[in-house]
Amino acid sequence: MAKNPQHRDLFPGALEIMILQSLRLRPMHGYALVKHIQQVSDNLLQVEEGSLYPALQRMLREGLLEAETGTSTKGRPTRIYRLTASGIRHLEREVVSFERMFAGFSRVLAAAQV
């Protein structure tokens, strides 16, 4: 994924966290995920489809997600992604480390302003 700079995440792991957090609310299919992140972030974050599907597959392989056959809101066949127990644990760990990182960021930025 790193081959093409246009497809790069905000920072490593950001896309995964957003997907995990979104799916924690309820199981969703791909299109719904994109829409959800877009709405919740007030259009500030736009998920690239080109990154979304490889990321979903990666998390499936790591056992953070499960996919099941389902239908979309429009009644078309699709796959619904659901968080697993290990996905929840992973999310919680990641959130803690992200918060620490943000705290660090803020302090560094605050110090620079003085």
């Binding site: 299109y31 599907y53 996919a67 066949p77």
Partner: protein, 897 residues
């Protein structure tokens, strides 16, 4: 099983991805349509937003793959599919490689088993053979490259050395075994104390010979070889402690040595203690081969120095009897020259094997070059495809990888087939290989040979694959998409690449052919040597020993031998018979000593050593060794023990100037011996093989006075070869009749080593014949491959230049000129290749010098004739495809494509 389930669920995963993505696009389209965009446009926009869908699919799937491996597998699938589509090409390449790699694997297996693998003894690097040089011992030094050890040397060395853990001496012998089944003659290894300790291989059953077995005054026990134990005793473990009759003496069996155990390279039946008596030993008696195990950390140089010191001790402690000078041997300039035991075992076959390996390696190179040429042609045809792929964004490395993968795949398939070829080749080798090939029984396809095959397959694949890759990768810049085939005839550059390969092939083929022809000339030169006997195929030989325990009186021995000889000569189809202590090339070498010439030499002079042989009347007639002057012995002379002798022609010329002058002259071995009169001179006999010089030989009567003190004490030569001239020689019926004839005289006499002189003669040429066959095979393969290469290149050039030929013809070129144009180009690179090959051959053939006989490594005839033949073959190979130009119709040629 997560890996397997992952594999099995993969296609479902891929479906999931497609379904998800498709649904996503559909929703997006719906969304855009709702925003009022026409469906068609909406679909396009949605897809654009997704970017490269195939790539997205691929990247999503990659998550589930061992990416590199799978793309490799896909490439492999394509390659195999492509190979199936052109079976002619695939079969040609795989067969070429299978033969090339197979031949290499076979020869490598031999090389590995014989030369590289350590000897089958514990810590074999400590083992040395006690090789002594004696450049000052004339006669002997020219005939044999070493001086063997005497028993007194063994006593001095083993007692006083500071460098060996253990040492011993041994020699091959024979013994009659009676009382089990039919009387039987077996091969014995006579060993001193220390031999088993030095080789250090434990007994399979029972125990080793002990120092008590070496006691002169007791009858020591014996040990059996595994083979003899199986053959004669059916592997019965109860045989230990049993008594067998060895040369009519009862001997207890102490133990059995394990399978494959040999004393150095000698495959014995029975291990018999020498039981040397220090009280009876003299300085002389240089008959034994010495082996030793060095102490850890001791080098060969240190050991040599220690033995040099001990040679002085040896001369101080022993003598050759009263009145002799013990330091007389300083004239022989004896010097220890220890060698790793392996060098002794491997011996002269080393050069042969390396030459054959190098030869086969060159054939492999030629084969690879041919395959590379084929691949070039194939890559030519695929150039457009590769260019299209390159234009669509395939990386250079990706394309190179695929091309290389294809060639390595071909290499590996060829290698796998090659293992089968090698296996068959090794079986064949066991049939035609020289019987003197040491460690023949140890040859096998082991892990190292298989690893060699694998490495060779991959390397050759990379080698012949790299050539088209190097040629075609840069072509990207030249925009071949335009279809170079149509406009240009063929790029000169590309044709030059192929010509270069064929030039190299011609050069390599020439070197091999010259090697093969030199071997053929060597073989012919050896065949032309008069070996000192005639028509070996009708000369039947057998060995027979009459032990002292069976018949003690020497006169009786001679009578028995005489009556056997008469019975043999009277067999149907037999014309004459005789016996001798050693038939030519049997390796028996009865003994060596100096002789003194009446009125000529001083008894204490450093006269050359002469080979002694002992003959019966009629032997020379039977063998076809013709008398140059004088006459043969008569039976009356033998029985009256007259002091007479026969000498070889070279000895007569050396001592008396001419064979005629030698008749009537007298000589003796030691001062108390009566002077023996020369009654006959016989032609020289190649005693040790046709490529070895004939030793100056003295033939004594088979019965003679032996004791200097009592002239009535007689000695008869007890182990003799009988020779029978018969047109039925070699047939089983004749052999049975010979056996019967012997048993009519004495039923407890075993007969051994029944063969025709042809077989013995053939064995002495076996090494040359083997080298010849291998080089001839390699040379003809190289010639065939080279010719094929030239043929291929010219016929491809003709097919590629059809258009150009059409234009030339339309412009008025004559057909013969066009043919000549192609032949000339073939002759140009053949000429260059020949020149390079001649230069290389001149250098390389010197390495083969030791294998040649009677011919110079730069033999002008060979160096002139082989290139002529090669150039003629090349002209023919290029003329045949070039002739096709004559059939080209200019109109059709121009209209084609």
């Amino acid at each position: 099983m997560p890996i397997f389930s992952r594999f099995f669920s993969k296609s479902r995963r891929y479906d999931d991805i497609s379904v998800s993505i498709q649904e996503h696009i559909d929703e997006r389209v719906d969304e855009l349509v709702q925003q009022g965009i026409p469906r068609e446009k909406a679909e396009k926009a949605a897809r654009r937003q997704f970017g490269n869908l195939t790539l997205l699919h691929e990247r999503s799937r990659e998550v589930w793959q061992w990416q590199r491996l799978e793309s490799l597998l896909i490439d492999l699938k394509h390659i195999l599919r492509r190979l199936r589509r052109s079976p002619g090409f695939a079969i040609t390449v795989v067969l070429t490689l299978a033969i090339g790699i197979g031949a290499n694997t076979a020869v490598f297996s031999v090389l590995n088993s014989v030369l590289l693998r350590p000897l089958p003894y514990p810590e074999p690097q400590q083992l040395v053979s006690l090789h002594l040089d004696a450049p000052g011992a004339p006669g002997l030094a020219e005939f044999r490259s070493e001086l063997r050890l005497s028993a007194s040397m063994f006593f001095t060395f083993s007692k006083h050395n500071n460098v060996f853990q253990s040492m011993g001496i041994w020699g091959p012998g024979t013994a009659s075994i009676t009382g089990i089944a039919q009387p039987e003659q077996v091969g014995t290894a006579m060993v001193s104390g220390g031999v088993l300790e030095t080789l250090n291989v434990p007994a399979l059953a029972g125990q080793w010979l002990t120092p008590a077995d070496q006691d002169t005054h007791a009858l020591g026990r014996v040990m059996l070889s595994y083979g003899y134990w199986q053959r004669r005793f059916g592997g019965d473990p109860g045989v230990i402690g049993r008594t067998i009759s060895v040369d009519s003496q009862p001997r207890v069996i102490a133990g059995v040595m394990p399978r494959g155990f040999k004393v150095v390279n000698y495959d014995f039946d029975l291990l018999v203690p020498m039981a040397l008596d220090p009280a009876k030993e003299q300085l002389a008696g240089f008959a034994y081969r010495g082996i030793a195990r060095l102490r850890p950390g001791v080098g060969v140089g240190e050991a040599n120095a220690d033995l040099s010191r001990l040679l002085g001790v040896w001369m101080d402690s022993w003598s050759n009897g009263p009145g002799t000078d013990p330091h007389w041997y300083t004239r022989w300039k004896i010097a220890p020259h220890l060698q790793p035991l392996k060098d002794l075992v491997v011996g002269p076959i080393k050069t042969v094997l390396w030459v054959v390996m190098a030869t086969i390696g060159v054939v492999m190179l030629i084969a690879c070059t041919n395959v590379a040429n084929l691949l070039l042609v194939r890559a030519d045809a695929r150039q457009q495809e590769l260019a299209v792929r390159s234009a669509l964004g395939a990386g250079r490395w990706r394309i190179a990888r695929e091309l290389l993968l294809e060639s390595v795949t071909l290499g590996l398939i060829g290698g796998a087939a090659g293992v089968a070829v090698a296996w068959a080749g090794l079986r064949l080798l066991a049939q035609i290989g020289p019987t003197d090939l040491p460690r023949l029984s140890e040859i096998s396809l082991d892990a190292r040979s298989i690893a060699f095959t694998l490495v060779l397959s991959v390397l050759s694949g990379l080698f012949f694959g790299a050539i088209p890759v190097l040629r075609y990768l840069p072509s990207r810049q030249r925009q071949p998409l335009l279809g170079a085939m149509r406009t240009a005839s063929v790029s000169r550059d590309r044709q030059r690449g192929r010509n270069l390969l064929v030039t190299a092939q011609v050069a390599m083929a020439l070197v091999l052919l010259i090697g093969a022809v030199l071997m053929i000339r060597t073989f012919l030169a050896m065949r032309n040597v008069d070996p000192g006997f005639t028509d070996p195929a009708s000369l039947q030989t057998m060995r027979l020993a009459i032990s002292e325990n069976l018949v003690s009186d020497p006169r009786t021995v001679i009578r028995i031998q005489n009556s056997i000889q008469e019975k043999l000569a009277a067999l149907p189809g037999a014309s004459s018979a005789g016996f001798v202590a050693s038939v030519p090339m049997s390796g028996a070498e009865p003994s060596w000593d100096q002789i003194t010439i009446e009125g000529k030499t001083d008894e204490n002079d450093n006269a050359p050593m002469r080979l002694f042989n002992y003959v019966s009347p009629g032997y020379f007639l039977t063998a076809g060794t013709h008398l140059v002057a004088g006459r043969d012995f008569t039976w009356a002379e033998i029985y009256s023990v007259l002091p007479i002798g026969i000498v070889s022609e070279s000895l007569a010329r050396e001592l008396w100037g001419s064979p005629q002058a030698a008749i009537g002259k007298r000589f003796r071995e030691y001062p108390s011996m009566p002077w023996h009169e020369v009654v006959g001179v016989v032609q020289d006999v190649r005693e040790n093989g046709v490529d070895q010089i004939s030793p100056a030989t003295v033939y004594w009567p088979s019965l003679m006075a032996i004791d200097p003190s009592a002239s009535q004490k007689l000695g008869a030569w007890r182990t003799v070869f009988f020779a029978i001239r018969s047109n039925r020689a070699g047939t089983q019926a004749f052999i049975n009749e010979m056996q019967q004839a012997v048993w009519q005289v004495n039923s407890s006499l075993p007969v051994a080593d029944i063969s025709t002189e042809q077989e013995i003669y053939g064995q002495s040429m076996a090494r040359t014949a083997f080298t010849l066959v291998m080089l001839a095979i390699a040379g003809s393969m190289a010639l065939a491959l080279g010719i094929l290469g030239i043929y291929g290149v010219i016929s491809y050039a003709v097919s590629q230049r059809t258009r150009e030929i059409g234009i030339r013809m339309a412009l008025g070129a004559k057909k013969t000129e066009l043919i000549w144009m192609f032949v000339r180009s073939a002759l140009t690179f053949t000429g260059i290749g020949t020149a390079i090959g001649l230069g290389a051959a001149a250098v390389l053939m010197r390495l083969m010098q030791t294998l040649l006989f009677g011919i110079s490594p730069l033999d002008p005839l060979t160096f002139a004739a082989v290139p002529v033949v090669l150039v003629a073959a090349a002209a023919l190979a290029s003329y045949l495809p070039a002739r096709r130009t004559a059939r080209i119709n200019p109109v059709e040629a121009l209209r084609a494509e």
